[in-house]
Subunit: 362 residues, 2 copies
Amino acid sequence: MLSGTFSVGGRDGYEPKLTAVATGSHIDAIPYSGKYDGVVGVLGAIEAINALKRSGFKPKRSLEIILFTSEEPTRFGISCLGSRLLAGSEALAEALKATVDGQNISFLEAARSAGYARDEDDLSRVFLKNDSYSAFVELHIEQAPILEEEGISIGVVTNIAAPASIKVDFEGNGGHAGGVLMPDRNDAGLAAAELMLAIEKHATESGSLDTVGTVGILELYPGAINSIPSKAHLEIDVRDIEESFRNAVINKIHKAAKSIAKKRKVTLSEFKIINQDPPAHSNGSVIKAVVDASDELNLTYKYMISRAYHDSLFMARIAPMGMIFIPCYKGYSHKPEEYASPQDLENGVKVLALTLAKLSLR
Amino acid sequence: MLSGTFSVGGRDGYEPKLTAVATGSHIDAIPYSGKYDGVVGVLGAIEAINALKRSGFKPKRSLEIILFTSEEPTRFGISCLGSRLLAGSEALAEALKATVDGQNISFLEAARSAGYARDEDDLSRVFLKNDSYSAFVELHIEQAPILEEEGISIGVVTNIAAPASIKVDFEGNGGHAGGVLMPDRNDAGLAAAELMLAIEKHATESGSLDTVGTVGILELYPGAINSIPSKAHLEIDVRDIEESFRNAVINKIHKAAKSIAKKRKVTLSEFKIINQDPPAHSNGSVIKAVVDASDELNLTYKYMISRAYHDSLFMARIAPMGMIFIPCYKGYSHKPEEYASPQDLENGVKVLALTLAKLSLR
């Protein structure tokens, strides 16, 4: 559909006028990543539908696979680009007209060079109507260690946490590392270091165990061993299942950034909340289909919260949504050690296939 | 002479058997730098010798200009490559055989592609003997605000501070920023943030006002907003006029790094002192020549310490050394705002010319 978000296969139902059931995930990854995050939900979807075909199952509603583009924010700094747009984000469609990557290539230019050339650049053409799918279900590795630790095969996701991301810049005078004495400095890097520790403190002490705060990106300029940093750029991720806890922590981080800037005589030249999405709730009938499928396959399952967010967070805005988690090694994700065993992959694909079958007959 | 370190001009003396007087500096720069650091001592040297020619002055000893390669550590991570080698660093000549830049291009390959091709790669061929020059003098911007604040034209450098640089790596488990709860993390980026603040504390509380400690480089891996840093790489610069103060601070930084690693359950996978050079002292007769020149030109001057280090730090190992500082705007250096006024440049070049004249007649 949109610049890499497209249907990669599926199965026509015998009542083609009914809205389809969709499944899918993403295959893009962050740098130095693993090979299961997202990919399991794409290859797993293809295999689930093939298995249904082989079994001779006839779907009533068509089954459709979606491969979302740019779930990770690697290139354009915005996560879940494809699913956000499909879900009808007017703000994103507008913002993307002026968005460029690290090499100054615009989003629209990149989309065109990937073969999505159009005469007009109106991204709202990809928005889906609210009744486009009767259900959306996504298979994914857990990206946390709970299922593995408890020896449970299937996670039935009830909620997806509310994520937010923030960009912060501190600026100081910089100078030569040998030339400026310690009392005369206003080091933007040290302001960033203090803010990192403040974020850890506020996330840890939020009052909710589910609050997490992370600085995954910190860039110092000019970035030379013999130069006092004149600028520090941080990108911060804050999440909770409850928006109110998350937003309270964001406010504390903003206060901390202002007070650190004042104390260290640096300028807080940017504090920009890039996105601040509400949490999503899985749909009751999709949850029931996953649970029934697990039961029929004699697989243990557990209701759980997804603290990582997924394309499902946005698909929930336009379709009844559910997610199926499988265990992954030590909960590792976003690094090469990421791993899911063949048995767990098979279990997940079986549950997905049976869930799709159930949803297609409703 | 060596891969960019070469003589760019000069003036033959009428007693060609006497060792020459040398002057010079560097023209390489860090990223996002200014255009005066180093350059003033190269263009200024050319102009000083041209001025002596125009005045009809006949040098007894030849005057020679040296343009040093890679004073800044930008490409190969080692500062003052050219002058260190000229001064006969066996350890560096050996280490450079295995040194590569960020694009994995070896130092020797880079030297050859810059036109310094040789059959053999024995870098010790560029070592200078101790009596190669009768004196070496370098003109440079102060890179600190003292001369400007006090309204003084010329800084006469008596000592160059002892610099050290250290590379540190912390490694943790990383993971997805949404998937791992705060108590379960071992975030390498937060270990780095704590070490940055510890370095500031130990440099500030060393007991010597002259101690400075700087983290100019910090890299987080994988470097994605939704990933807990699994690795943090820091490059640290520590200096003092007294080696003992500096080394005491380095020991405290090492202890802090070990204790932070233990507390945060990350691995301190590298703590490597890249260089730990002794301070240099200017030569009495070169100092006198600079002072006499300033007096004769009716320019105010002040004895001062260079906290930044220069090619002169290494040239002092093989020749009587001196440095001439001129004021620079607010002490700014290593950033685009770096500036020295035409009047101060003229003063510096006049003092350099007269100093060279005096030294050439001795």
